[in-house]
Every structure is written in structure tokens, then in C-alpha cells.
């Protein structure tokens, strides 16, 4: 018994401690020719789709950059993707591995808010730049000065949404159907606050459970409550279900949505049911060729179109390249602190989503775009932001 245990344990220990010899060794010597960037997101499990989609945005940027020779034309970039399964426990393991065995220079991700908080604390201590393309919770960037994002926070989106619904669309009684996850609930709370501050009223707020596919019960109740419009700030799959089932129930109330709607997958899944939906999404301040080129290239490479989060990841990668190049040109190496400083100093970087600037706390200085779906094509309505509680259209 004792022999058996000690045999098993010693075998495991041997394997463990011999691993660094061949796995970790190469990074030290190869550091100059390639640098590593990390990515953390759910690659398996219920939300794997988001991890897959968003990581491809970052991967595409890196492939493009490497095709031109890499950073400053000579340092190749490698993206190391770690699976978080949407679980902070696994996310922490991911950052630990990226930080200690891959020695990454910066991290793109994590995808979800919950994991972002756990990982954010970690990168702050380690001094690794983290840019989340999709962690929308208002507090994420407050973790520290190493945490940034290329997605507008819930706060801004909620403010624009609430004000726009009230002021421009003239909605007074709002119905809401949101899922009890951090993304949906964050947007619901933000929107509700600004909408009710203007004098509107959320007359009915129904919830759903993560993984639910059947929303007929809630929709039946909402139908009975007859609000002016229904706000559905959810992920693509759920929204597709909601729209389809609403039409089955003969619900004739306009739908309003969030940046989750910017995923073109919605048109595959919900088809004609998307007609008439108005949603808050990324801006197109500088409607550029870059934007169109990106969408085309992404679609061509992976067989499906990018969503706004993948776009944010793509932008994050390019802003990062810019910072890396500056640091490399100045010092010939990639100091993590210097990379962070260069990244924070980004000014008017022209990305696919338009001009990118970061606020003091690491938030994206952003506006929100508004779209209305006609048939199955989103039509751009303009960009908005909120200044001192007032909705302002950005020209």
C-alpha cells in the first residue's frame, strides 16, 4: 500500500518537475525572434462559441502581421490560446501557465466578465498588460492600471440605450427579457437606470436561465403586459430563440437589443424574424475600407462573419502591435511595463471600429452606434454618446 502510493506520487512528481526542463527552456533563448501573446476564453463548454469566434479575431490580426514580417518587420508573434471554460478557476490556471511557462508579453481576453475579474487581479500583480475585447462589466478596468478593454463598458452602452429608447424612439413603457448572466443583467441594469432617470418605466422585466431555449412563457406574459417595446440584451443564440418564438406567439411589439446582436450569426439563426430590430452596437465613426476588408478577410478565412467582439479582439491586437513596435524600436526588447505604458499612450489609433483612445482607467473612449435591421441587413443610424445625462449624436 505505502509502496504503491509512494510509487505513484513519486512518478507524478518526477514528471511534473522534469517538465520545465524541456517545456519552459526554449522560451528564454527564442525570446528575440518571437514574442508570445496570450488569449484566454471559453474554448470548450456551453459558451465555447464565443471563445472560438473572438480568438479568431486576434489570430487573424497576428497572421496578417506575421505575413508582413512581424513586429518591426522581424519579430514574429505567436498567440497562445488557453481554455477558460468560462470558469475563473480555469482562467486563473490559464494565466498562470501563460505567465510562467510561456512568458507572454500581453494578454488579449479574457472573454467573460467573471473570468476577467479573477485574471485581472492576477495580471495586475504580475505586471502583464491585459486587454479584454468583450468583458463589459463597468468595474473591470478599476482593478488596476494594467487592465484595458476595447469594448465599451456596460455603463456607456446602458446609458446610450436608455436615453435613445426614451428620447429618439419615444418609448415610455419598456418590457425586458434578459438572461441571468453577467452580460445581460449588466446591460439591463444600466439601461433601466438611465431609462427610468429620464422618466420612462420598465413595466415588465422577465428573466431566463443560462442555457434556456424556451422563452414562450415569458413572452406570453410580456405580451399580456403590452409594453411599447421589448429590450433583449442577450447573446445571439438566446435572441434568435426569443425573436422566433415571439413571432410564433403573434407578438407585435418592436424589439430593441444590444451589441450581442452585432454577431451576423443572428441572421442565420433567426432569419426574417430580425426585421425591424433596433440595436446598440459598435460605432462606425470612420466608415473605412479597413472595416470592410476585415469583415471580408475574416469571413473568407473562417467561413463565417465576425461579431463585434471578434472585431474588438482584432483591434486590440493591432493597438498592441503598435505599442510593441514603439517599445521594440526604442529599446530592442519587450519590457512588460514599457509595453503597458506605450499601450496606454495610444492616441487616435485607427482601428476597424474607428478611432481608438483609452481613458485614464483603461476604458475605451467610445461612442455607441445604433442600427436598425431592415430585412436581414443592419442599417447604420448614427453614433451617440451621453454627456452629463444628455444624449448627444456624434457626427
Amino acid at each position: 500500500m505505502v509502496r504503491k502510493i509512494s510509487f505513484v506520487v513519486s512518478m507524478i512528481l518526477m514528471v511534473c518537475f522534469s517538465l520545465p526542463l524541456f517545456a519552459g527552456g526554449q522560451t528564454e533563448t527564442a525570446a528575440v525572434e518571437t514574442i508570445k501573446l496570450g488569449f484566454i476564453g471559453p474554448m470548450t463548454g456551453d459558451y465555447a462559441n464565443y471563445g472560438q469566434l473572438i480568438s479568431k479575431g486576434a489570430q487573424l490580426a497576428i497572421d496578417e502581421k506575421n505575413a508582413t514580417g512581424g513586429i518591426a518587420g522581424k519579430v514574429k508573434i505567436q498567440l497562445i490560446i488557453e481554455d477558460s471554460e468560462g470558469n475563473p478557476e480555469k482562467g486563473l490556471a490559464g494565466i498562470e501557465k501563460l505567465s510562467s511557462s510561456d512568458k507572454i508579453v500581453a494578454l488579449i481576453g479574457p472573454v467573460f466578465t467573471g473570468v476577467s475579474f479573477a485574471v485581472g487581479e492576477r495580471v495586475q500583480v504580475e505586471g502583464i498588460l491585459m486587454v479584454t475585447p468583450s468583458g463589459t462589466h463597468a468595474d473591470i478596468t478599476n482593478i488596476g492600471d494594467y487592465v484595458f478593454r476595447t469594448v465599451p463598458s456596460d455603463g456607456l452602452q446602458g446609458e446610450v440605450a436608455g436615453n435613445y429608447f426614451y428620447e429618439v424612439l419615444g418609448v415610455r413603457n419598456l418590457g425586458v427579457l434578459y438572461i441571468k448572466n453577467d452580460y445581460s443583467q449588466g446591460l439591463y441594469e444600466g439601461t433601466k437606470a438611465s431609462f427610468e432617470a429620464r422618466g420612462g418605466k420598465v413595466t415588465i422585466a422577465e428573466t431566463g436561465q443560462i442555457g434556456d431555449k424556451d422563452f414562450k412563457t415569458q413572452l406570453t406574459k410580456i405580451k399580456a403586459a403590452a409594453p411599447d417595446a421589448i429590450y433583449i440584451p442577450n447573446y445571439t443564440a438566446e435572441m434568435a430563440q426569443i425573436l422566433e418564438q415571439a413571432s410564433q406567439l403573434g407578438l407585435n411589439i418592436p424589439f430593441l437589443s444590444s451589441d450581442g446582436f452585432s454577431n451576423p450569426e443572428i441572421y442565420d439563426l433567426a432569419g426574417a424574424y430580425t426585421d425591424g430590430v433596433i440595436y446598440v452596437g459598435p460605432t462606425k465613426v470612420a466608415e473605412s475600407d479597413a472595416s470592410k476588408a476585415f469583415v471580408d478577410k475574416y469571413t473568407k478565412t473562417y467561413g463565417f462573419a465576425p461579431d463585434s467582439f471578434a472585431t474588438n479582439a482584432y483591434d486590440a491586437a493591432y493597438v498592441l502591435f503598435d505599442a510593441l513596435e514603439k517599445v521594440y524600436k526604442a529599446s530592442g526588447k519587450f519590457d512588460r511595463k514599457a509595453v503597458r505604458d506605450a499601450f496606454a499612450a495610444t492616441k487616435d489609433f485607427l482601428g476597424v471600429n474607428g478611432k481608438i483612445n483609452f481613458a485614464e482607467n483603461g476604458d475605451l473612449v467610445a461612442y455607441q452606434g445604433l442600427y436598425k435591421v431592415e430585412g436581414t441587413t443592419p442599417k447604420y443610424l448614427g453614433a451617440y454618446t451621453v454627456v452629463d445625462g444628455k444624449l448627444v449624436e456624434v457626427k
Binding site: 465555447a48 431566463g208 442555457g211 412563457t217 415569458q218 434568435a240 422566433e244 406567439l249 450569426e265
Partner: protein
């Protein structure tokens, strides 16, 4: 709860949901009846069958909606069912059969292992994006007063009823069905009576898996096809099977329908927040188990002292 119309709307929604649960629960209950273990991979067999059905349907379906499309739909469903049946039998042979004499936990964990393998294999081979299964007919709702009923709901109810009646007749009347019941009562005695127990078990798995594929294909029209589609639905269906009395075919049907209705009306009537729907299901489960531990239609098994 507003009006009668709303009531009937909920009733319709609850019945279709319950019908699906019942169909999946049948597979659980059949396997449990014979082997006394929870086939955790049942939900994943459902998912695999739905994928296969989807591929076949997309390949043979014409452009226009019409009679051929509906035939194609059912043909694809049949292929999916057959695939699932074979998959179910294969899994039984590889992962469960060697464990027949082992402890009760061994096949349970083996089933969990199979579930991991199947769902991740699907994600790897076919991607994590949801795949849409096009309706073979125009699914605009039919309005009966204020109640909206979709052709899809009607189809679910019809298919579910047909499947259940067929299964019930098969189990009660046919020779094979009788052999199944004998096997579930006492394997050793069944063997002595000349029943090929291994074959019966394989057939049970085949039928259960085929029913799962049917349920999967039917709901896929609405919920789409994706790697984890079977997980939660499967779990709920299992709850339904237990509520009805696991191992009991009629129990699975009753349990499934009941669970669907309770979930729908619990939210609608009692004003319980929808997000607590699963909680209602599980609380009902626990209450039923406490009042009648063998399930609604199950037989109490008294341990002989």
C-alpha cells in the same frame, strides 16, 4: 394570469415541452429498468442523432417547401434515429457491458466519460456554432382566438403521441417487449427462460437512443443543433423519469408531461421568477420523492428482511 386565452396558451406550451421531456425520459427509463443505472450519455446520443439528421436533411431537402420536404424531414429523422440506435448499442457494448457485474458506480462514471467524449467530439468535428434546422413547412402560427399554435407544436404532439403509443404497444404486446419486461424484472431468471439477455439489452439501448434522436430532431427545429443541446434537456428528462417512477414506461410519459406543465404553470400562475424555473422542477422532484420515493407510477420495492 390574465385570461383563458393566456391559460390555454400556457397549456399548449407546457404540453409540447412536456411531450419532449417524456420522449427523452423514455430512453432513460428503459435503460434504467433493465440495467439499473443512469445513462448519463443519453443527452449526447440525442445530440449526435440530431447532427446526423441535420446533415442528411440539408443534403436531400429541396428548395421549395412542400410535400417532398416533409418526407425528406422524416427520412432524415429516421436516419438520425438509426444512427443513434447503432451508437447507443456500440456504447453499451464498449463502455457498459464489461461493467455489468461491477458496482453501481462504475457504469455511472463510465457513462459520464462517454458523455464527455461525445459532446467534445461533436464540438471538435462540427464546431461550436449552433446549426439551424430549417422547418419543412411554413411555421407561421395558427391563431385560434387569442391562442397561437404553431404547426411545429402540433407536429411535436402528434409525433410524441404516436411514438409513445407505439412503444407502449410494443412493450406490452410483442414477444420482444415481453422479453424486455422479463429481463428488467430478473435477468438471471430471464436467462434461464431462454431469453438472450445481451441481445435484449442491446435492443433496449437501440430503442431508447432512437427515441432520444427523435426528440432531439424535433426540438432542433426550434432550439437549433449544437454540441451541448442534450445536456440540460437530458437532465430535466431524467428528472421526469424519476418523478414518474423510473423503470416504468407509462411513468416516464406522465412524469414528462407533468414536468413540462409544472415548469410552465409554476412560472405563469404562481408568478415565480422565470429564472427559478429549474428550481421549481427540482423542488417538485424532491417533494415527490419524499412523498412517494418510488415515483408516481413506480412500484415500491420492499427489502426483504
Amino acid at each position: 394570469m390574465g385570461s383563458w386565452a393566456e391559460f390555454f396558451q400556457h397549456l399548449m406550451n407546457g404540453l409540447t415541452l412536456g411531450g419532449i421531456y417524456a420522449l427523452i425520459a423514455l430512453g432513460y427509463t428503459m435503460v434504467y429498468g433493465i440495467l439499473k443505472f443512469i445513462n448519463f450519455a443519453h443527452g449526447d446520443i440525442l445530440m449526435m442523432g440530431s447532427y446526423i439528421g441535420l446533415f442528411v436533411y440539408n443534403a436531400i431537402r429541396g428548395e421549395l417547401l412542400g410535400f417532398w420536404t416533409i418526407i425528406a424531414f422524416f427520412l432524415s429523422m429516421l436516419v438520425g434515429m438509426m444512427f443513434s440506435a447503432i451508437l447507443g448499442m456500440a456504447i453499451e457494448k464498449i463502455a457498459y457491458k464489461p461493467l455489468r457485474k461491477a458496482t453501481r458506480l462504475a457504469p455511472l462514471l463510465s457513462a459520464i466519460g462517454v458523455s464527455f467524449i461525445l459532446s467534445n467530439l461533436a464540438a471538435w468535428m462540427w464546431g461550436t456554432k449552433s446549426k439551424k434546422l430549417e422547418y419543412p413547412f411554413d411555421n407561421s402560427p395558427i391563431h385560434l382566438g387569442d391562442i397561437a399554435v404553431t404547426p411545429h407544436q402540433i407536429m411535436i404532439l402528434v409525433v410524441v403521441v404516436v411514438m409513445m403509443v407505439a412503444l407502449k404497444l410494443f412493450i406490452d404486446r410483442s414477444r420482444l417487449g415481453k422479453a424486455m419486461r422479463a429481463t428488467s424484472l430478473d435477468q438471471d431468471t430471464a436467462k434461464l427462460m431462454g431469453i438472450k439477455v445481451d441481445r435484449i439489452i442491446a435492443i433496449t439501448f437501440a430503442i431508447g437512443s432512437a427515441l432520444a434522436a427523435t426528440a432531439g430532431f424535433l426540438i432542433a427545429l426550434e432550439i437549433k443543433v449544437y454540441p451541448s443541446m442534450g445536456t440540460m434537456t437530458g437532465l430535466k428528462a431524467f428528472v421526469a423519469a424519476v418523478v414518474g417512477g423510473i423503470g416504468n414506461i407509462s411513468g416516464a410519459m406522465v412524469g414528462g408531461i407533468l414536468l413540462g406543465l409544472i415548469e410552465t404553470f409554476g412560472v405563469a400562475l404562481l408568478g415565480i421568477p422565470y429564472a427559478l424555473r429549474d428550481t421549481i422542477a427540482f423542488i417538485i422532484l424532491i417533494i415527490i420523492l419524499l412523498v412517494k420515493p418510488e415515483g408516481l407510477l413506480g412500484k415500491a420495492e420492499k427489502e426483504k428482511v
